[in-house]
């Protein structure tokens, strides 16, 4: 029977990447000097499954590489090795390397063998170094060769406990001959156990009452040993344990022997023993808390993992909808006016089911923000040590759900903001102490829902933004005129201007003056905006406001002539009847109106879009919808307000291309197409 392994590859890769993320998270949680068993176990198990999986699928490089990591982890697990920062860093590097290897294999590229061997060497140096410290003997580390798929465990040697049954010699096997064969494989130490011997008068010379404790050192593959014992497999009890697994397995086995009981029951047959560590790991799993965040999927993959509960509720909803539909159709077969009530209640049921169905269908696209957050512990860990700062990263609200598209698009801007906080926000430890703050700086990532928005905040307790410094810098760079009057908030917003950087020294982390403007552009492309709150000396907060979903929008329909446009409700501030006396003219042409304490421009939608208005009149007879986009406000002059509704966003770019002033299209209730207005685009259009 042949099974096409290829079909499982995708699953293997997904699981391996998840495993790597688990390892990474675990490694970052390890604090030097202490050995958190749960954490180490989690890491070890992840490494072990990757090793096993890659062996099964024939990715021998991966399996061999992981094996070395596993050995190192195993020593930590047994307490034979201190958890040190150096070791953790080497392991983190290896995780990266492994991820690259897997990604290369997945995409069918060449594995970068140079980087692999570098990391493998580092691992081995780490392994060697402390082993000789710990045991005083310079053990030889052998680079494991790719092995048979079944078990590629290769290590320093094997500990074999060989307890033949009494009739062994009658079957024509001679233990001594087997020992000689073993000797050819490596350095052999054999100790005989005489405890099973009967009194001399009871001894039958053709019976075997001895058992042996064999230590075989060298780079020997498991199957070589198995070959030697092949013939006696059924006539003995034995266990073969690699030295790496020995420490924990050896003790109970020896105790069993000491107890002198018939070995048959206690000593597990060879095959099982070899697998025992795996079993143990599996058993231990439920007790160990898995990290809460499911690790991030590769953004490139077009598939998405959906909670079964969500699918179940979707199916339920569809079921309900079918029932309602059949009820309505039976009602329609012989309808008369007496059944009007039934029809109306049926229709309202249909409406509510449709809405629920829509919501749960949207829910499938929603994923917890932890998919994005999970990458930050590593980033902060790496960057803070590189910059010599002490920074703690706090995460909260990781379970806040966001649209998948938002997840994919928000991570780069967010990385930039976090890097910025690390680099410019949090000060060096001595500066912090001088300012009366603890040396350990805190960067806090928080996500939560507010209204129809999801808010992601990056907060640091660093130095905060200096509005005046920003202003001076902006003047220096020619971003603003020196005599411009700006509010504090507007000064903060200067850092989003293109070609602006406050860092005195340009580091490789941030400060090239590109970035913040790109950050804002990206976020606005998602229909969101960024707000800065900052207090000099206390810290600053960058808050990203994003729409919950990109597929549905709350809209206000407005009529302009015969056309209907949708204004995103989120950008509508208020609307009122525009009376001629409210309008003032700038240079005789530009129309403005006064809204409380500011003058805002009027955009005439009919002029802007070349639509004929049904009602005529200059500056009057129209409704003014005050809208806000990218921080600027303006009034849109329309003929009528038609009502609010949720609209499903349909891209115009699928079949056409982007149109200035229009963000997308939608299908209106009557089946015709409606166009959704893009407020910043309208402003640009008006400024031409």
């Amino acid at each position: 029977m042949t099974i096409d392994m290829e079909q499982f590859h995708q699953v293997f890769f997904e699981e391996s990447f998840e495993g790597l993320d688990v390892m990474e998270t675990g490694l970052l949680n390890l604090s030097p000097g202490t050995a958190d068993m749960e954490e180490i176990n989690t890491i070890f198990r992840a490494a072990h499954s990757i090793k096993g999986g890659s062996g099964t699928f024939g990715f021998m490089d991966v399996s061999a590489f992981t094996h070395v990591m596993e050995t190192l982890l195993d020593e930590m697990r047994d307490g034979r090795r201190q958890v040190e920062q150096r070791g953790v860093n080497v392991l983190l590097g290896s995780v990266d390397c492994l991820r690259e290897m897997l990604a290369a294999i997945q995409s069918g590229d060449e594995v970068d063998s140079k980087s692999v061997s570098t990391h493998q060497k580092e691992l081995e140096i780490e392994l060697n170094g402390s082993r000789s410290e710990a045991t005083g003997e310079a053990a030889e580390i052998v680079v494991p060769e790719p092995d048979k798929a079944e078990d590629s465990a290769v290590n320093l040697g094997w500990h074999i406990i060989f307890c033949p049954h009494v009739h062994l010699m009658k079957t024509g096997n001679d233990p001594v001959r087997m020992f000689r064969e073993l000797e050819e494989l490596g350095d052999l130490t054999v100790e005989a156990d005489f405890r099973g011997l009967p009194e001399i008068q009871d001894l039958d010379p053709e019976e075997c009452h001895l058992s042996w404790d064999i230590r075989l050192e060298g780079d020997i593959e498991r199957h070589e040993i198995d070959e030697i014992f092949d013939w006696v497999e059924d006539d003995c009890d034995m266990s073969i344990i690699s030295f790496a697994d020995e420490a924990e397995k050896n003790r109970p086995a020896e105790e069993d022997l000491v107890a002198g009981e018939p070995i048959v029951e206690k000593v597990v047959p060879a095959q099982e023993t070899a697998k025992a560590p795996t079993k143990q790991a599996v058993k231990a799993e439920p007790e160990v808390k898995r990290p809460e965040n499911k690790p991030a999927a590769k953004p490139a993959s077009a598939s998405i993992r959906v909670d079964t509960a969500k699918i179940d509720s979707l199916i339920n909803m569809v079921g309900e909808l079918v029932i309602t539909q059949s009820m309505l159709s039976s009602l329609g077969e012989d309808f008369d006016m007496t059944k009007l009530d039934l029809l109306q209640s049926g229709l309202s049921q249909l409406e509510s089911h449709t809405r629920e169905l829509q919501q749960s269908a949207m829910g499938i696209r929603m994923m917890p923000i932890s998919f994005v957050f999970s990458r930050f512990p590593r980033l902060v860990h790496d960057l803070s040590s590189k910059m010599g700062k002490q920074i703690e990263l706090k995460l909260s609200g990781e379970n806040t759900e966001v649209d998948k598209t938002v997840i994919e698009l928000i991570s780069d801007p967010l990385v930039h903001l976090v890097r910025n906080s690390l680099d410019h926000g949090v000060e060096m430890p001595d500066e912090r102490i001088a300012a009366g703050k603890p040396a350990l700086g805190i960067v806090h990532l928080n996500a939560f829902h507010r209204g129809g928005n999801i808010v992601i905040e990056v907060t640091d307790d660093g130095n905060g933004l200096d509005g005046d410094k920003l202003f001076n810098k902006a003047v220096e760079k020619g971003v603003v005129e020196p005599d411009t009057q700006l509010t504090e908030k507007e000064k903060f917003d200067l850092i989003f201007a293109a070609g602006f950087s406050t860092a005195e020294v340009v580091s490789d982390v941030s400060g090239r003056g590109v970035g913040m403007d790109v950050v804002r552009k990206n976020i606005e492309a998602l229909g969101g905006h960024v707000e800065i709150r900052s207090k000099l000396g206390k810290g600053s907060t960058f808050a990203i406001y994003l729409p919950l979903t990109l597929a549905i929008l709350d809209g206000q329909s407005v009529a302009v002539g015969d056309e209907t446009y949708i204004v995103p409700l989120a950008s509508v501030i208020e609307s009122f009847n525009l009376k001629p006396e409210m309008v003032s003219y700038v240079a005789g042409r530009g129309e403005t109106f006064r809204l409380r304490d500011e003058y805002l421009p009027i955009l005439r939608m009919d002029n802007l879009f070349g639509v004929h208005r049904t009602e005529s009149g200059k500056g009057s007879d129209g409704l003014l919808v005050v809208v806000e986009g990218q921080g600027t406000r303006c009034g849109l002059l329309v003929d009528d307000l038609l009502g609010q509704q949720q609209v499903v966003i349909k891209s115009l770019e699928t079949n056409y291309r982007k149109i200035e002033g229009i963000s997308a299209a939608t299908i209106l209730g009557d089946g015709s197409v409606g166009l959704i207005l893009d407020i910043p685009g309208l402003l640009r259009l008006a400024n031409r």
Binding site: L608, N655, Y656, I659, G661, I667, V673, L675
Partner: protein, 168 residues
């Protein structure tokens, strides 16, 4: 009032379909498009205008939940405009290949027939000088009427629209 066309039924033997063209009328001229590109043929119905686009883009239409731009070929070719009437049709075409596919509709005065053309019968479009752009014409077929075979991919490429707009 729409009549979806099943390509396979119409095409019959698929191996011949490379040579099948749907012909339609614009004023007194006959044009043809590769039948494999044709998604469906619909009667004219009012569309939603898109602001600030070239005049030949009449607007967008809801086609089973998709938003499809509709191009007036008379306007595109600079021909005289007429009122749309009962026979006016929208031919919905699938443009491009692979991942880069999009749907667009063209307005024609009327559809006439499916023309089977031997490859050998297709003549290159004559060079008509700078005044008439023959880039969008794949070739011509002489029959009782002359049929101009359009290269829909080139004709309905949104990138080209922007070029026209920028020039205009």
């Amino acid at each position: 009032m729409s009549e979806p066309i099943d390509n396979k039924e119409m095409g019959g033997a698929t191996e011949l379909s490379e040579n099948q063209y749907l012909t339609f009328q614009l004023a007194d001229e006959m044009y043809g498009v590769d039948i494999l590109k044709v998604e469906e043929i619909r009667g004219w119905e009012p569309v939603r205008e898109i602001p600030n686009t070239p005049a030949f883009i009449k607007g967008v239409l809801n086609l089973r939940g998709g938003v499809v731009p509709i191009i007036d070929l008379r306007a595109r070719f600079g021909m005289e405009q007429i009122e749309y009437h009962a026979k006016t049709v929208v031919i919905v075409l699938l443009i491009g290949e692979g991942d880069d596919q999009h749907v667009m509709g063209i307005i024609a005065d009327a559809v006439s027939e499916v023309l089977e053309v031997d490859r050998g019968e297709i003549k290159n479009a004559p060079n008509l000088g700078a005044s008439i752009n023959t880039r969008y014409i794949r070739g011509m077929v002489m029959g009782k009427n002359m049929v101009m075979l359009l290269d829909a991919d080139k004709l309905l490429n949104p990138e080209e629209f922007s070029l026209i707009e920028d020039v205009g």
